[in-house]
Symmetry: C2
Subunit: 640 residues, 2 copies
């Protein structure tokens, strides 16, 4: 296992400076295009007006064109008559040229016309050039319309046409060649079913292509390239010698035994940077071959995206003469402690929402492998290398991944997860796209704590009180300290044991969990399902210590189902829908109630109103019942 090491490790800022300054003068070529289709392009030369606008003195109003000096005597007590028949006053419409000898337009509203339309009485004078758009008032022929490197917007197209410029010189869109490498990669389009064991669907290059496209570049994705020094070298050299302005290899940029990218770039050209002190995104290579920028991009999806956005995209924009725009930022209060490794800048994906008058943010999972941490995030927290993290309750500055008003309208939902929440989200977005629902799954108890701490709009909970057999209410009393909340039933649902299809180990009830040949997967402490399991064990006087796998925890029903499907566990408590989703068998244990907790002050928010309206709607209930394992007999009922 031969290993390279990161010999040219840099901070992100150093890497950006080094890489961008190396190619500072590099511009994609230029081309002359139809001005009507120049939106989003960047001028490659200064543009001068060929025509003036208006090209003639034009009426700015509907009315009568006159020579102003003939109106000077008019007054309320001295009405003046103008004669149309002899051309003293000439009717004009907005935009029409002023007739010879006229220098003002009287608004039609200020004129009393005779019945035959030949005489006009006015009671106020008009001054010269009033209601006239003079030649060149907007644009003067020969003046500079736009300098070089001007990003052309919609209105600019209007100025170009008006100024008589049917075509405009713009930067050619830079071409970026994306080379997916990896023996494990397969194209989804080539698959009939699931990929063969050990194979991974190529997705990074499609993501990077979409980013490049958005940045005004033209991405080209190559077919998948095998992990082999000579093969990579051949394709890389071909790409460098093509008309591409930049080449990106994804991945093989790390220092593993099958990571050839660094070696190939070094052998063909020069490595400027290998390794950047960011997470995700560390295994990035920045290099230069035959004068062109070549990037070795990391393989984990989140790393690939962050590295590309931080280093490649800005260079593609610079090649077009654009100045990359700094992301918008906002402040929010951090909802959890967020430790971070010193010495490395961390890009942490966050969910942010507005509660009363403050923004609250909570982190998503750290892993660079989970693309869902990007798709679910609406903000990004950058924790600098000098920091060992941020603490709960502190105010942090976030970069926006979605528009601010999208974040403002986001409904935060935390606590226990249920699949009907996804259905609710779909119905909500369908009825109006205005209100995104952002869920984090921390179990029922976590949800109640989030309500207590003003960290969420909604919490899902199904906590059984073993003493009373009641759901949720006693916990609210105990933990919410009198906080005024509504408790609304979303669904009743079956809980039971998920077991492999065919139930090979013949699990029948909770006593079976203690068998030597059975390992379970459990839910985390504080989750309603865990409480339920403990309750059932206690009812039968069974000792959890004797259950294999009792301490193996997962955070969602789906993760429990996956653990069973993958053979990691023989059984796990969960909901029917999760079992069905993965074709597992389901041994019903009991039915439980799943409620939504909502602080009463949020009930009047339009977003929450709409959510509750949906919960009451028959079409929603029907969809829930169709999932199986659910009853909506009390859906929408206020317990508190």
């Amino acid at each position: 296992m031969k290993r390279r090491i990161y010999l040219k490790m840099k901070t992100l800022e150093e890497a950006q400076r080094l890489f961008w300054s190396e190619f500072a003068g590099y511009r994609s070529g230029e081309e002359q295009i139809d001005s009507r289709r120049a939106g989003g392009r960047v001028t490659s030369r200064p543009v001068s007006a060929r025509l003036s606008a208006p090209a003639f003195h034009a009426a700015a109003m509907d009315g009568l064109a006159v020579a102003a000096k003939y109106t000077f005597g008019a007054a309320d007590d001295a009405p003046l008559t103008l004669f149309l028949e002899n051309g003293q006053a000439v009717p004009v419409n907005t935009g029409h040229p002023l007739p010879e000898g006229k220098d003002a337009v009287i608004m039609i509203e200020n004129v009393l016309l005779s019945d035959d339309g030949q005489q006009a009485v006015i009671r106020t004078p008009i001054y010269p050039w009033q209601n006239v758009r003079k030649v060149g008032e907007d644009i003067v022929a020969t003046e500079q319309l736009f300098p070089t490197n001007h990003l052309i917007g919609p209105a600019d197209i209007g100025a170009l046409l008006t100024a008589g410029c049917p075509q405009v010189w713009v930067r050619r869109k830079p071409r970026v060649q994306l080379l997916p490498t990896g023996n494990e990669l397969v194209q989804l389009a080539d698959l009939d079913h699931a990929p063969p064991p050990g194979k991974t669907i190529e997705s990074n290059c499609s993501v990077l292509a979409a980013v490049a496209d958005r940045g005004g570049a033209v991405p080209q994705v190559s077919p998948i390239i095998k992990d082999d020094y000579e093969t990579i070298k051949k394709h890389l050299l071909e790409a460098v010698r093509s008309d591409a302005d930049m080449v990106v290899i994804n991945a093989g940029s790390s220092a593993g035994s099958a990571d050839y990218t660094a070696q190939v770039i070094e052998d063909l050209g020069e490595i400027l940077v290998h390794g950047i002190t960011i997470m995700p995104g560390k295994p990035t290579i920045l290099g230069k071959i035959e004068g062109k920028p070549v990037v070795g991009n990391p393989g984990y999806p989140v790393s690939a995206l962050i590295s590309f956005e931080q280093l490649v995209l800005p260079l593609l924009q610079r090649m077009q003469g654009m100045e990359p725009t700094a992301p918008e930022t906002m402040e929010a209060v951090l909802g959890r402690n967020l430790p971070s490794r010193g010495g490395i800048e961390e890009f942490r994906r966050m969910i942010t929402g507005k509660l009363d008058n403050r923004f609250i943010c909570v982190p998503l999972k750290k892993g660079a492998g989970a693309i869902s941490t990007i798709t679910r995030a609406n903000t990004m927290l950058r924790i600098p290398a000098s920091s060992e993290g941020e603490s709960r309750g502190s105010t942090v500055r976030l970069e926006l991944l979605r528009p601010l008003d999208h974040i403002q309208r986001t409904i935060l939902c935390t606590g226990s997860h249920d699949l009907t929440l996804d259905l609710l989200h779909d119905f909500l977005k369908k009825s109006s796209p205005a209100y995104p629902l952002a869920s984090t799954h921390v179990g029922s108890m976590g949800g109640i704590m989030a309500i207590r701490d003003d960290m969420t709009h909604i919490a899902g909970s199904h906590l059984l009180d073993p003493k009373t057999g009641e759901y949720n209410t006693s916990y609210l009393k105990q933990y919410l300290d009198g906080k005024d909340v509504a408790l609304i039933t979303l669904v009743h649902r079956q809980q039971g044991f998920m077991v492999p299809a065919g139930n090979p180990k013949k699990v029948q009830d909770v006593t079976d969990l203690l068998r030597d040949d059975i390992t379970i997967i459990n839910r985390q402490a504080g989750s309603g399902t865990r409480v339920l399991l403990d309750f059932e064990l206690e009812k039968k006087g069974l000792d959890a210590d004797n259950i294999r796998g009792y301490d193996n925890e997962e955070y969602t029903h789906m993760s429990v189902a996956v653990a069973v499907l993958s053979g990691k566990a023989d059984a796990g408590l969960g909901i029917l829908a999760a079992a069905r989703a993965l074709n597992l068998d389901f041994i019903p244990l009991t039915e439980e109630r799943y409620d939504l907790i909502i602080p009463r002050q949020y009930l009047d928010l339009p977003s929450i109103q709409q959510l509750l309206d949906i919960a009451h709607a028959d079409r929603f209930k029907k969809s829930v019942e169709q999932m199986g394992g659910y009853s909506t007999r009390e859906t929408g009922r206020y317990i508190l």
Copy 2:
């Protein structure tokens, strides 16, 4: 002159509510497209994962896959040897599947391999599932990836592919048919030279098409339609019955004698709104024909754009299931008084920049006819109908037309204008697109006042002191109250009389201006050119009162040139470059110095540094000299 009146006048908010709620349920159709090309599109159905990701337990690190339980004894003082030959430890690379029976990966950095690579010594234990990405950790098959009406971003494409969704159902892009109407309109593409007298180049529909395209719609622009009731009716009905989702007529939406749009819409369907209390944008018609939205859009370019952006674009976005995003806003201090008509909401285009730690904004011209007020603006001030304006020094909230950091980097330049400033701007943007230069032209004295009041980074000035023959310095002493500024010469330039080509009235020197047969065009009071004219008149003992047109003022050299070209005046004092630009003759009068005034505190700004570097550069000086009428012999010299 038959006139309609606005019978259904509404406020913007009323009009939006009425129009959008009328078509609230209207969605463009749906289509299934390749997920790789789904960026920017909106889901028309909920999307569920078909595959889990990872699809197998995968190594999250390069290293040795092991069963964790065999490592539990390892410690610094109790190193443990793992054997590769018997499969106790198996080398794996990141992303590879975990071999059967293994549940953890030891990072290669934590392993001491024997020379033959068959034995590995470790000194710390590993716990189960450490450095492993478990099945479904990112995405679980069957879970909902995205709800309906989700805007697909680059990362979402990665999630779709990873989850085994090669295609995705999205909203069809809504089609909007744009009908340009007007007898005066010509297409620039059809012209060889300037348009014939009285004709106007069609530009609005190209601008609106670019806005629609940016908003995810597919615009179609029809050929120009004559202003004729039957012709408009025929084309409108055709458009409504085509596959267009919306039809926009530009223009004829006002109440003039040739404004047929309202009548046609009324006859074919229903007018919901005619007239909106905004400026620009008042003559807007919102209607409905055969169930489809039909809009009569105003004809002035700024009106057309604002009306379209406020009413049409959001509906096109809603048709796609998008929630329109509210524009970003910022606060700035208003640099001038800004009176506004009560009862009408005014959209005022502004230039904003950052001076020290506060943002300053100044208004551009009001006129709806000047597209340049949009192309030059970086912000928009909306003055509500309830307000009669805003006063200088008050803090106002602006909508951003460019990204905030673009505004932050903007160099404000006010005062006298010179064509070399445009050249400077071009060189500045060429050397780095980072620093836009925003000029407003208020004359030399206006510039000095702006410097005094901290309203600009730079002022251009060429004020002659008649007593000393010196430029600028005495004015700075008199008006700047000791403020510490640098005074830097930009150019020396010729001033002289611009006269029609061939100099038909034989203007020779300043005494000719008093002739009965000569009308001049003057510059505004406070401009350096006006001071210069007065100085020359005084030298010869001539009385300005005897000059025809002395009180006719223009604000720029170019406007003076235009006045001469259009025959409005026989002569005007100005610079050679302006005369040359419009092929006028030029009778030199004198040479003057044109300086830049820069408060010393701004000299260290990177933007100003770069500007001054350019002023010193030979290639800039060479370009200036090539314009004619300029000398750069002292360009860049510090006077103060």
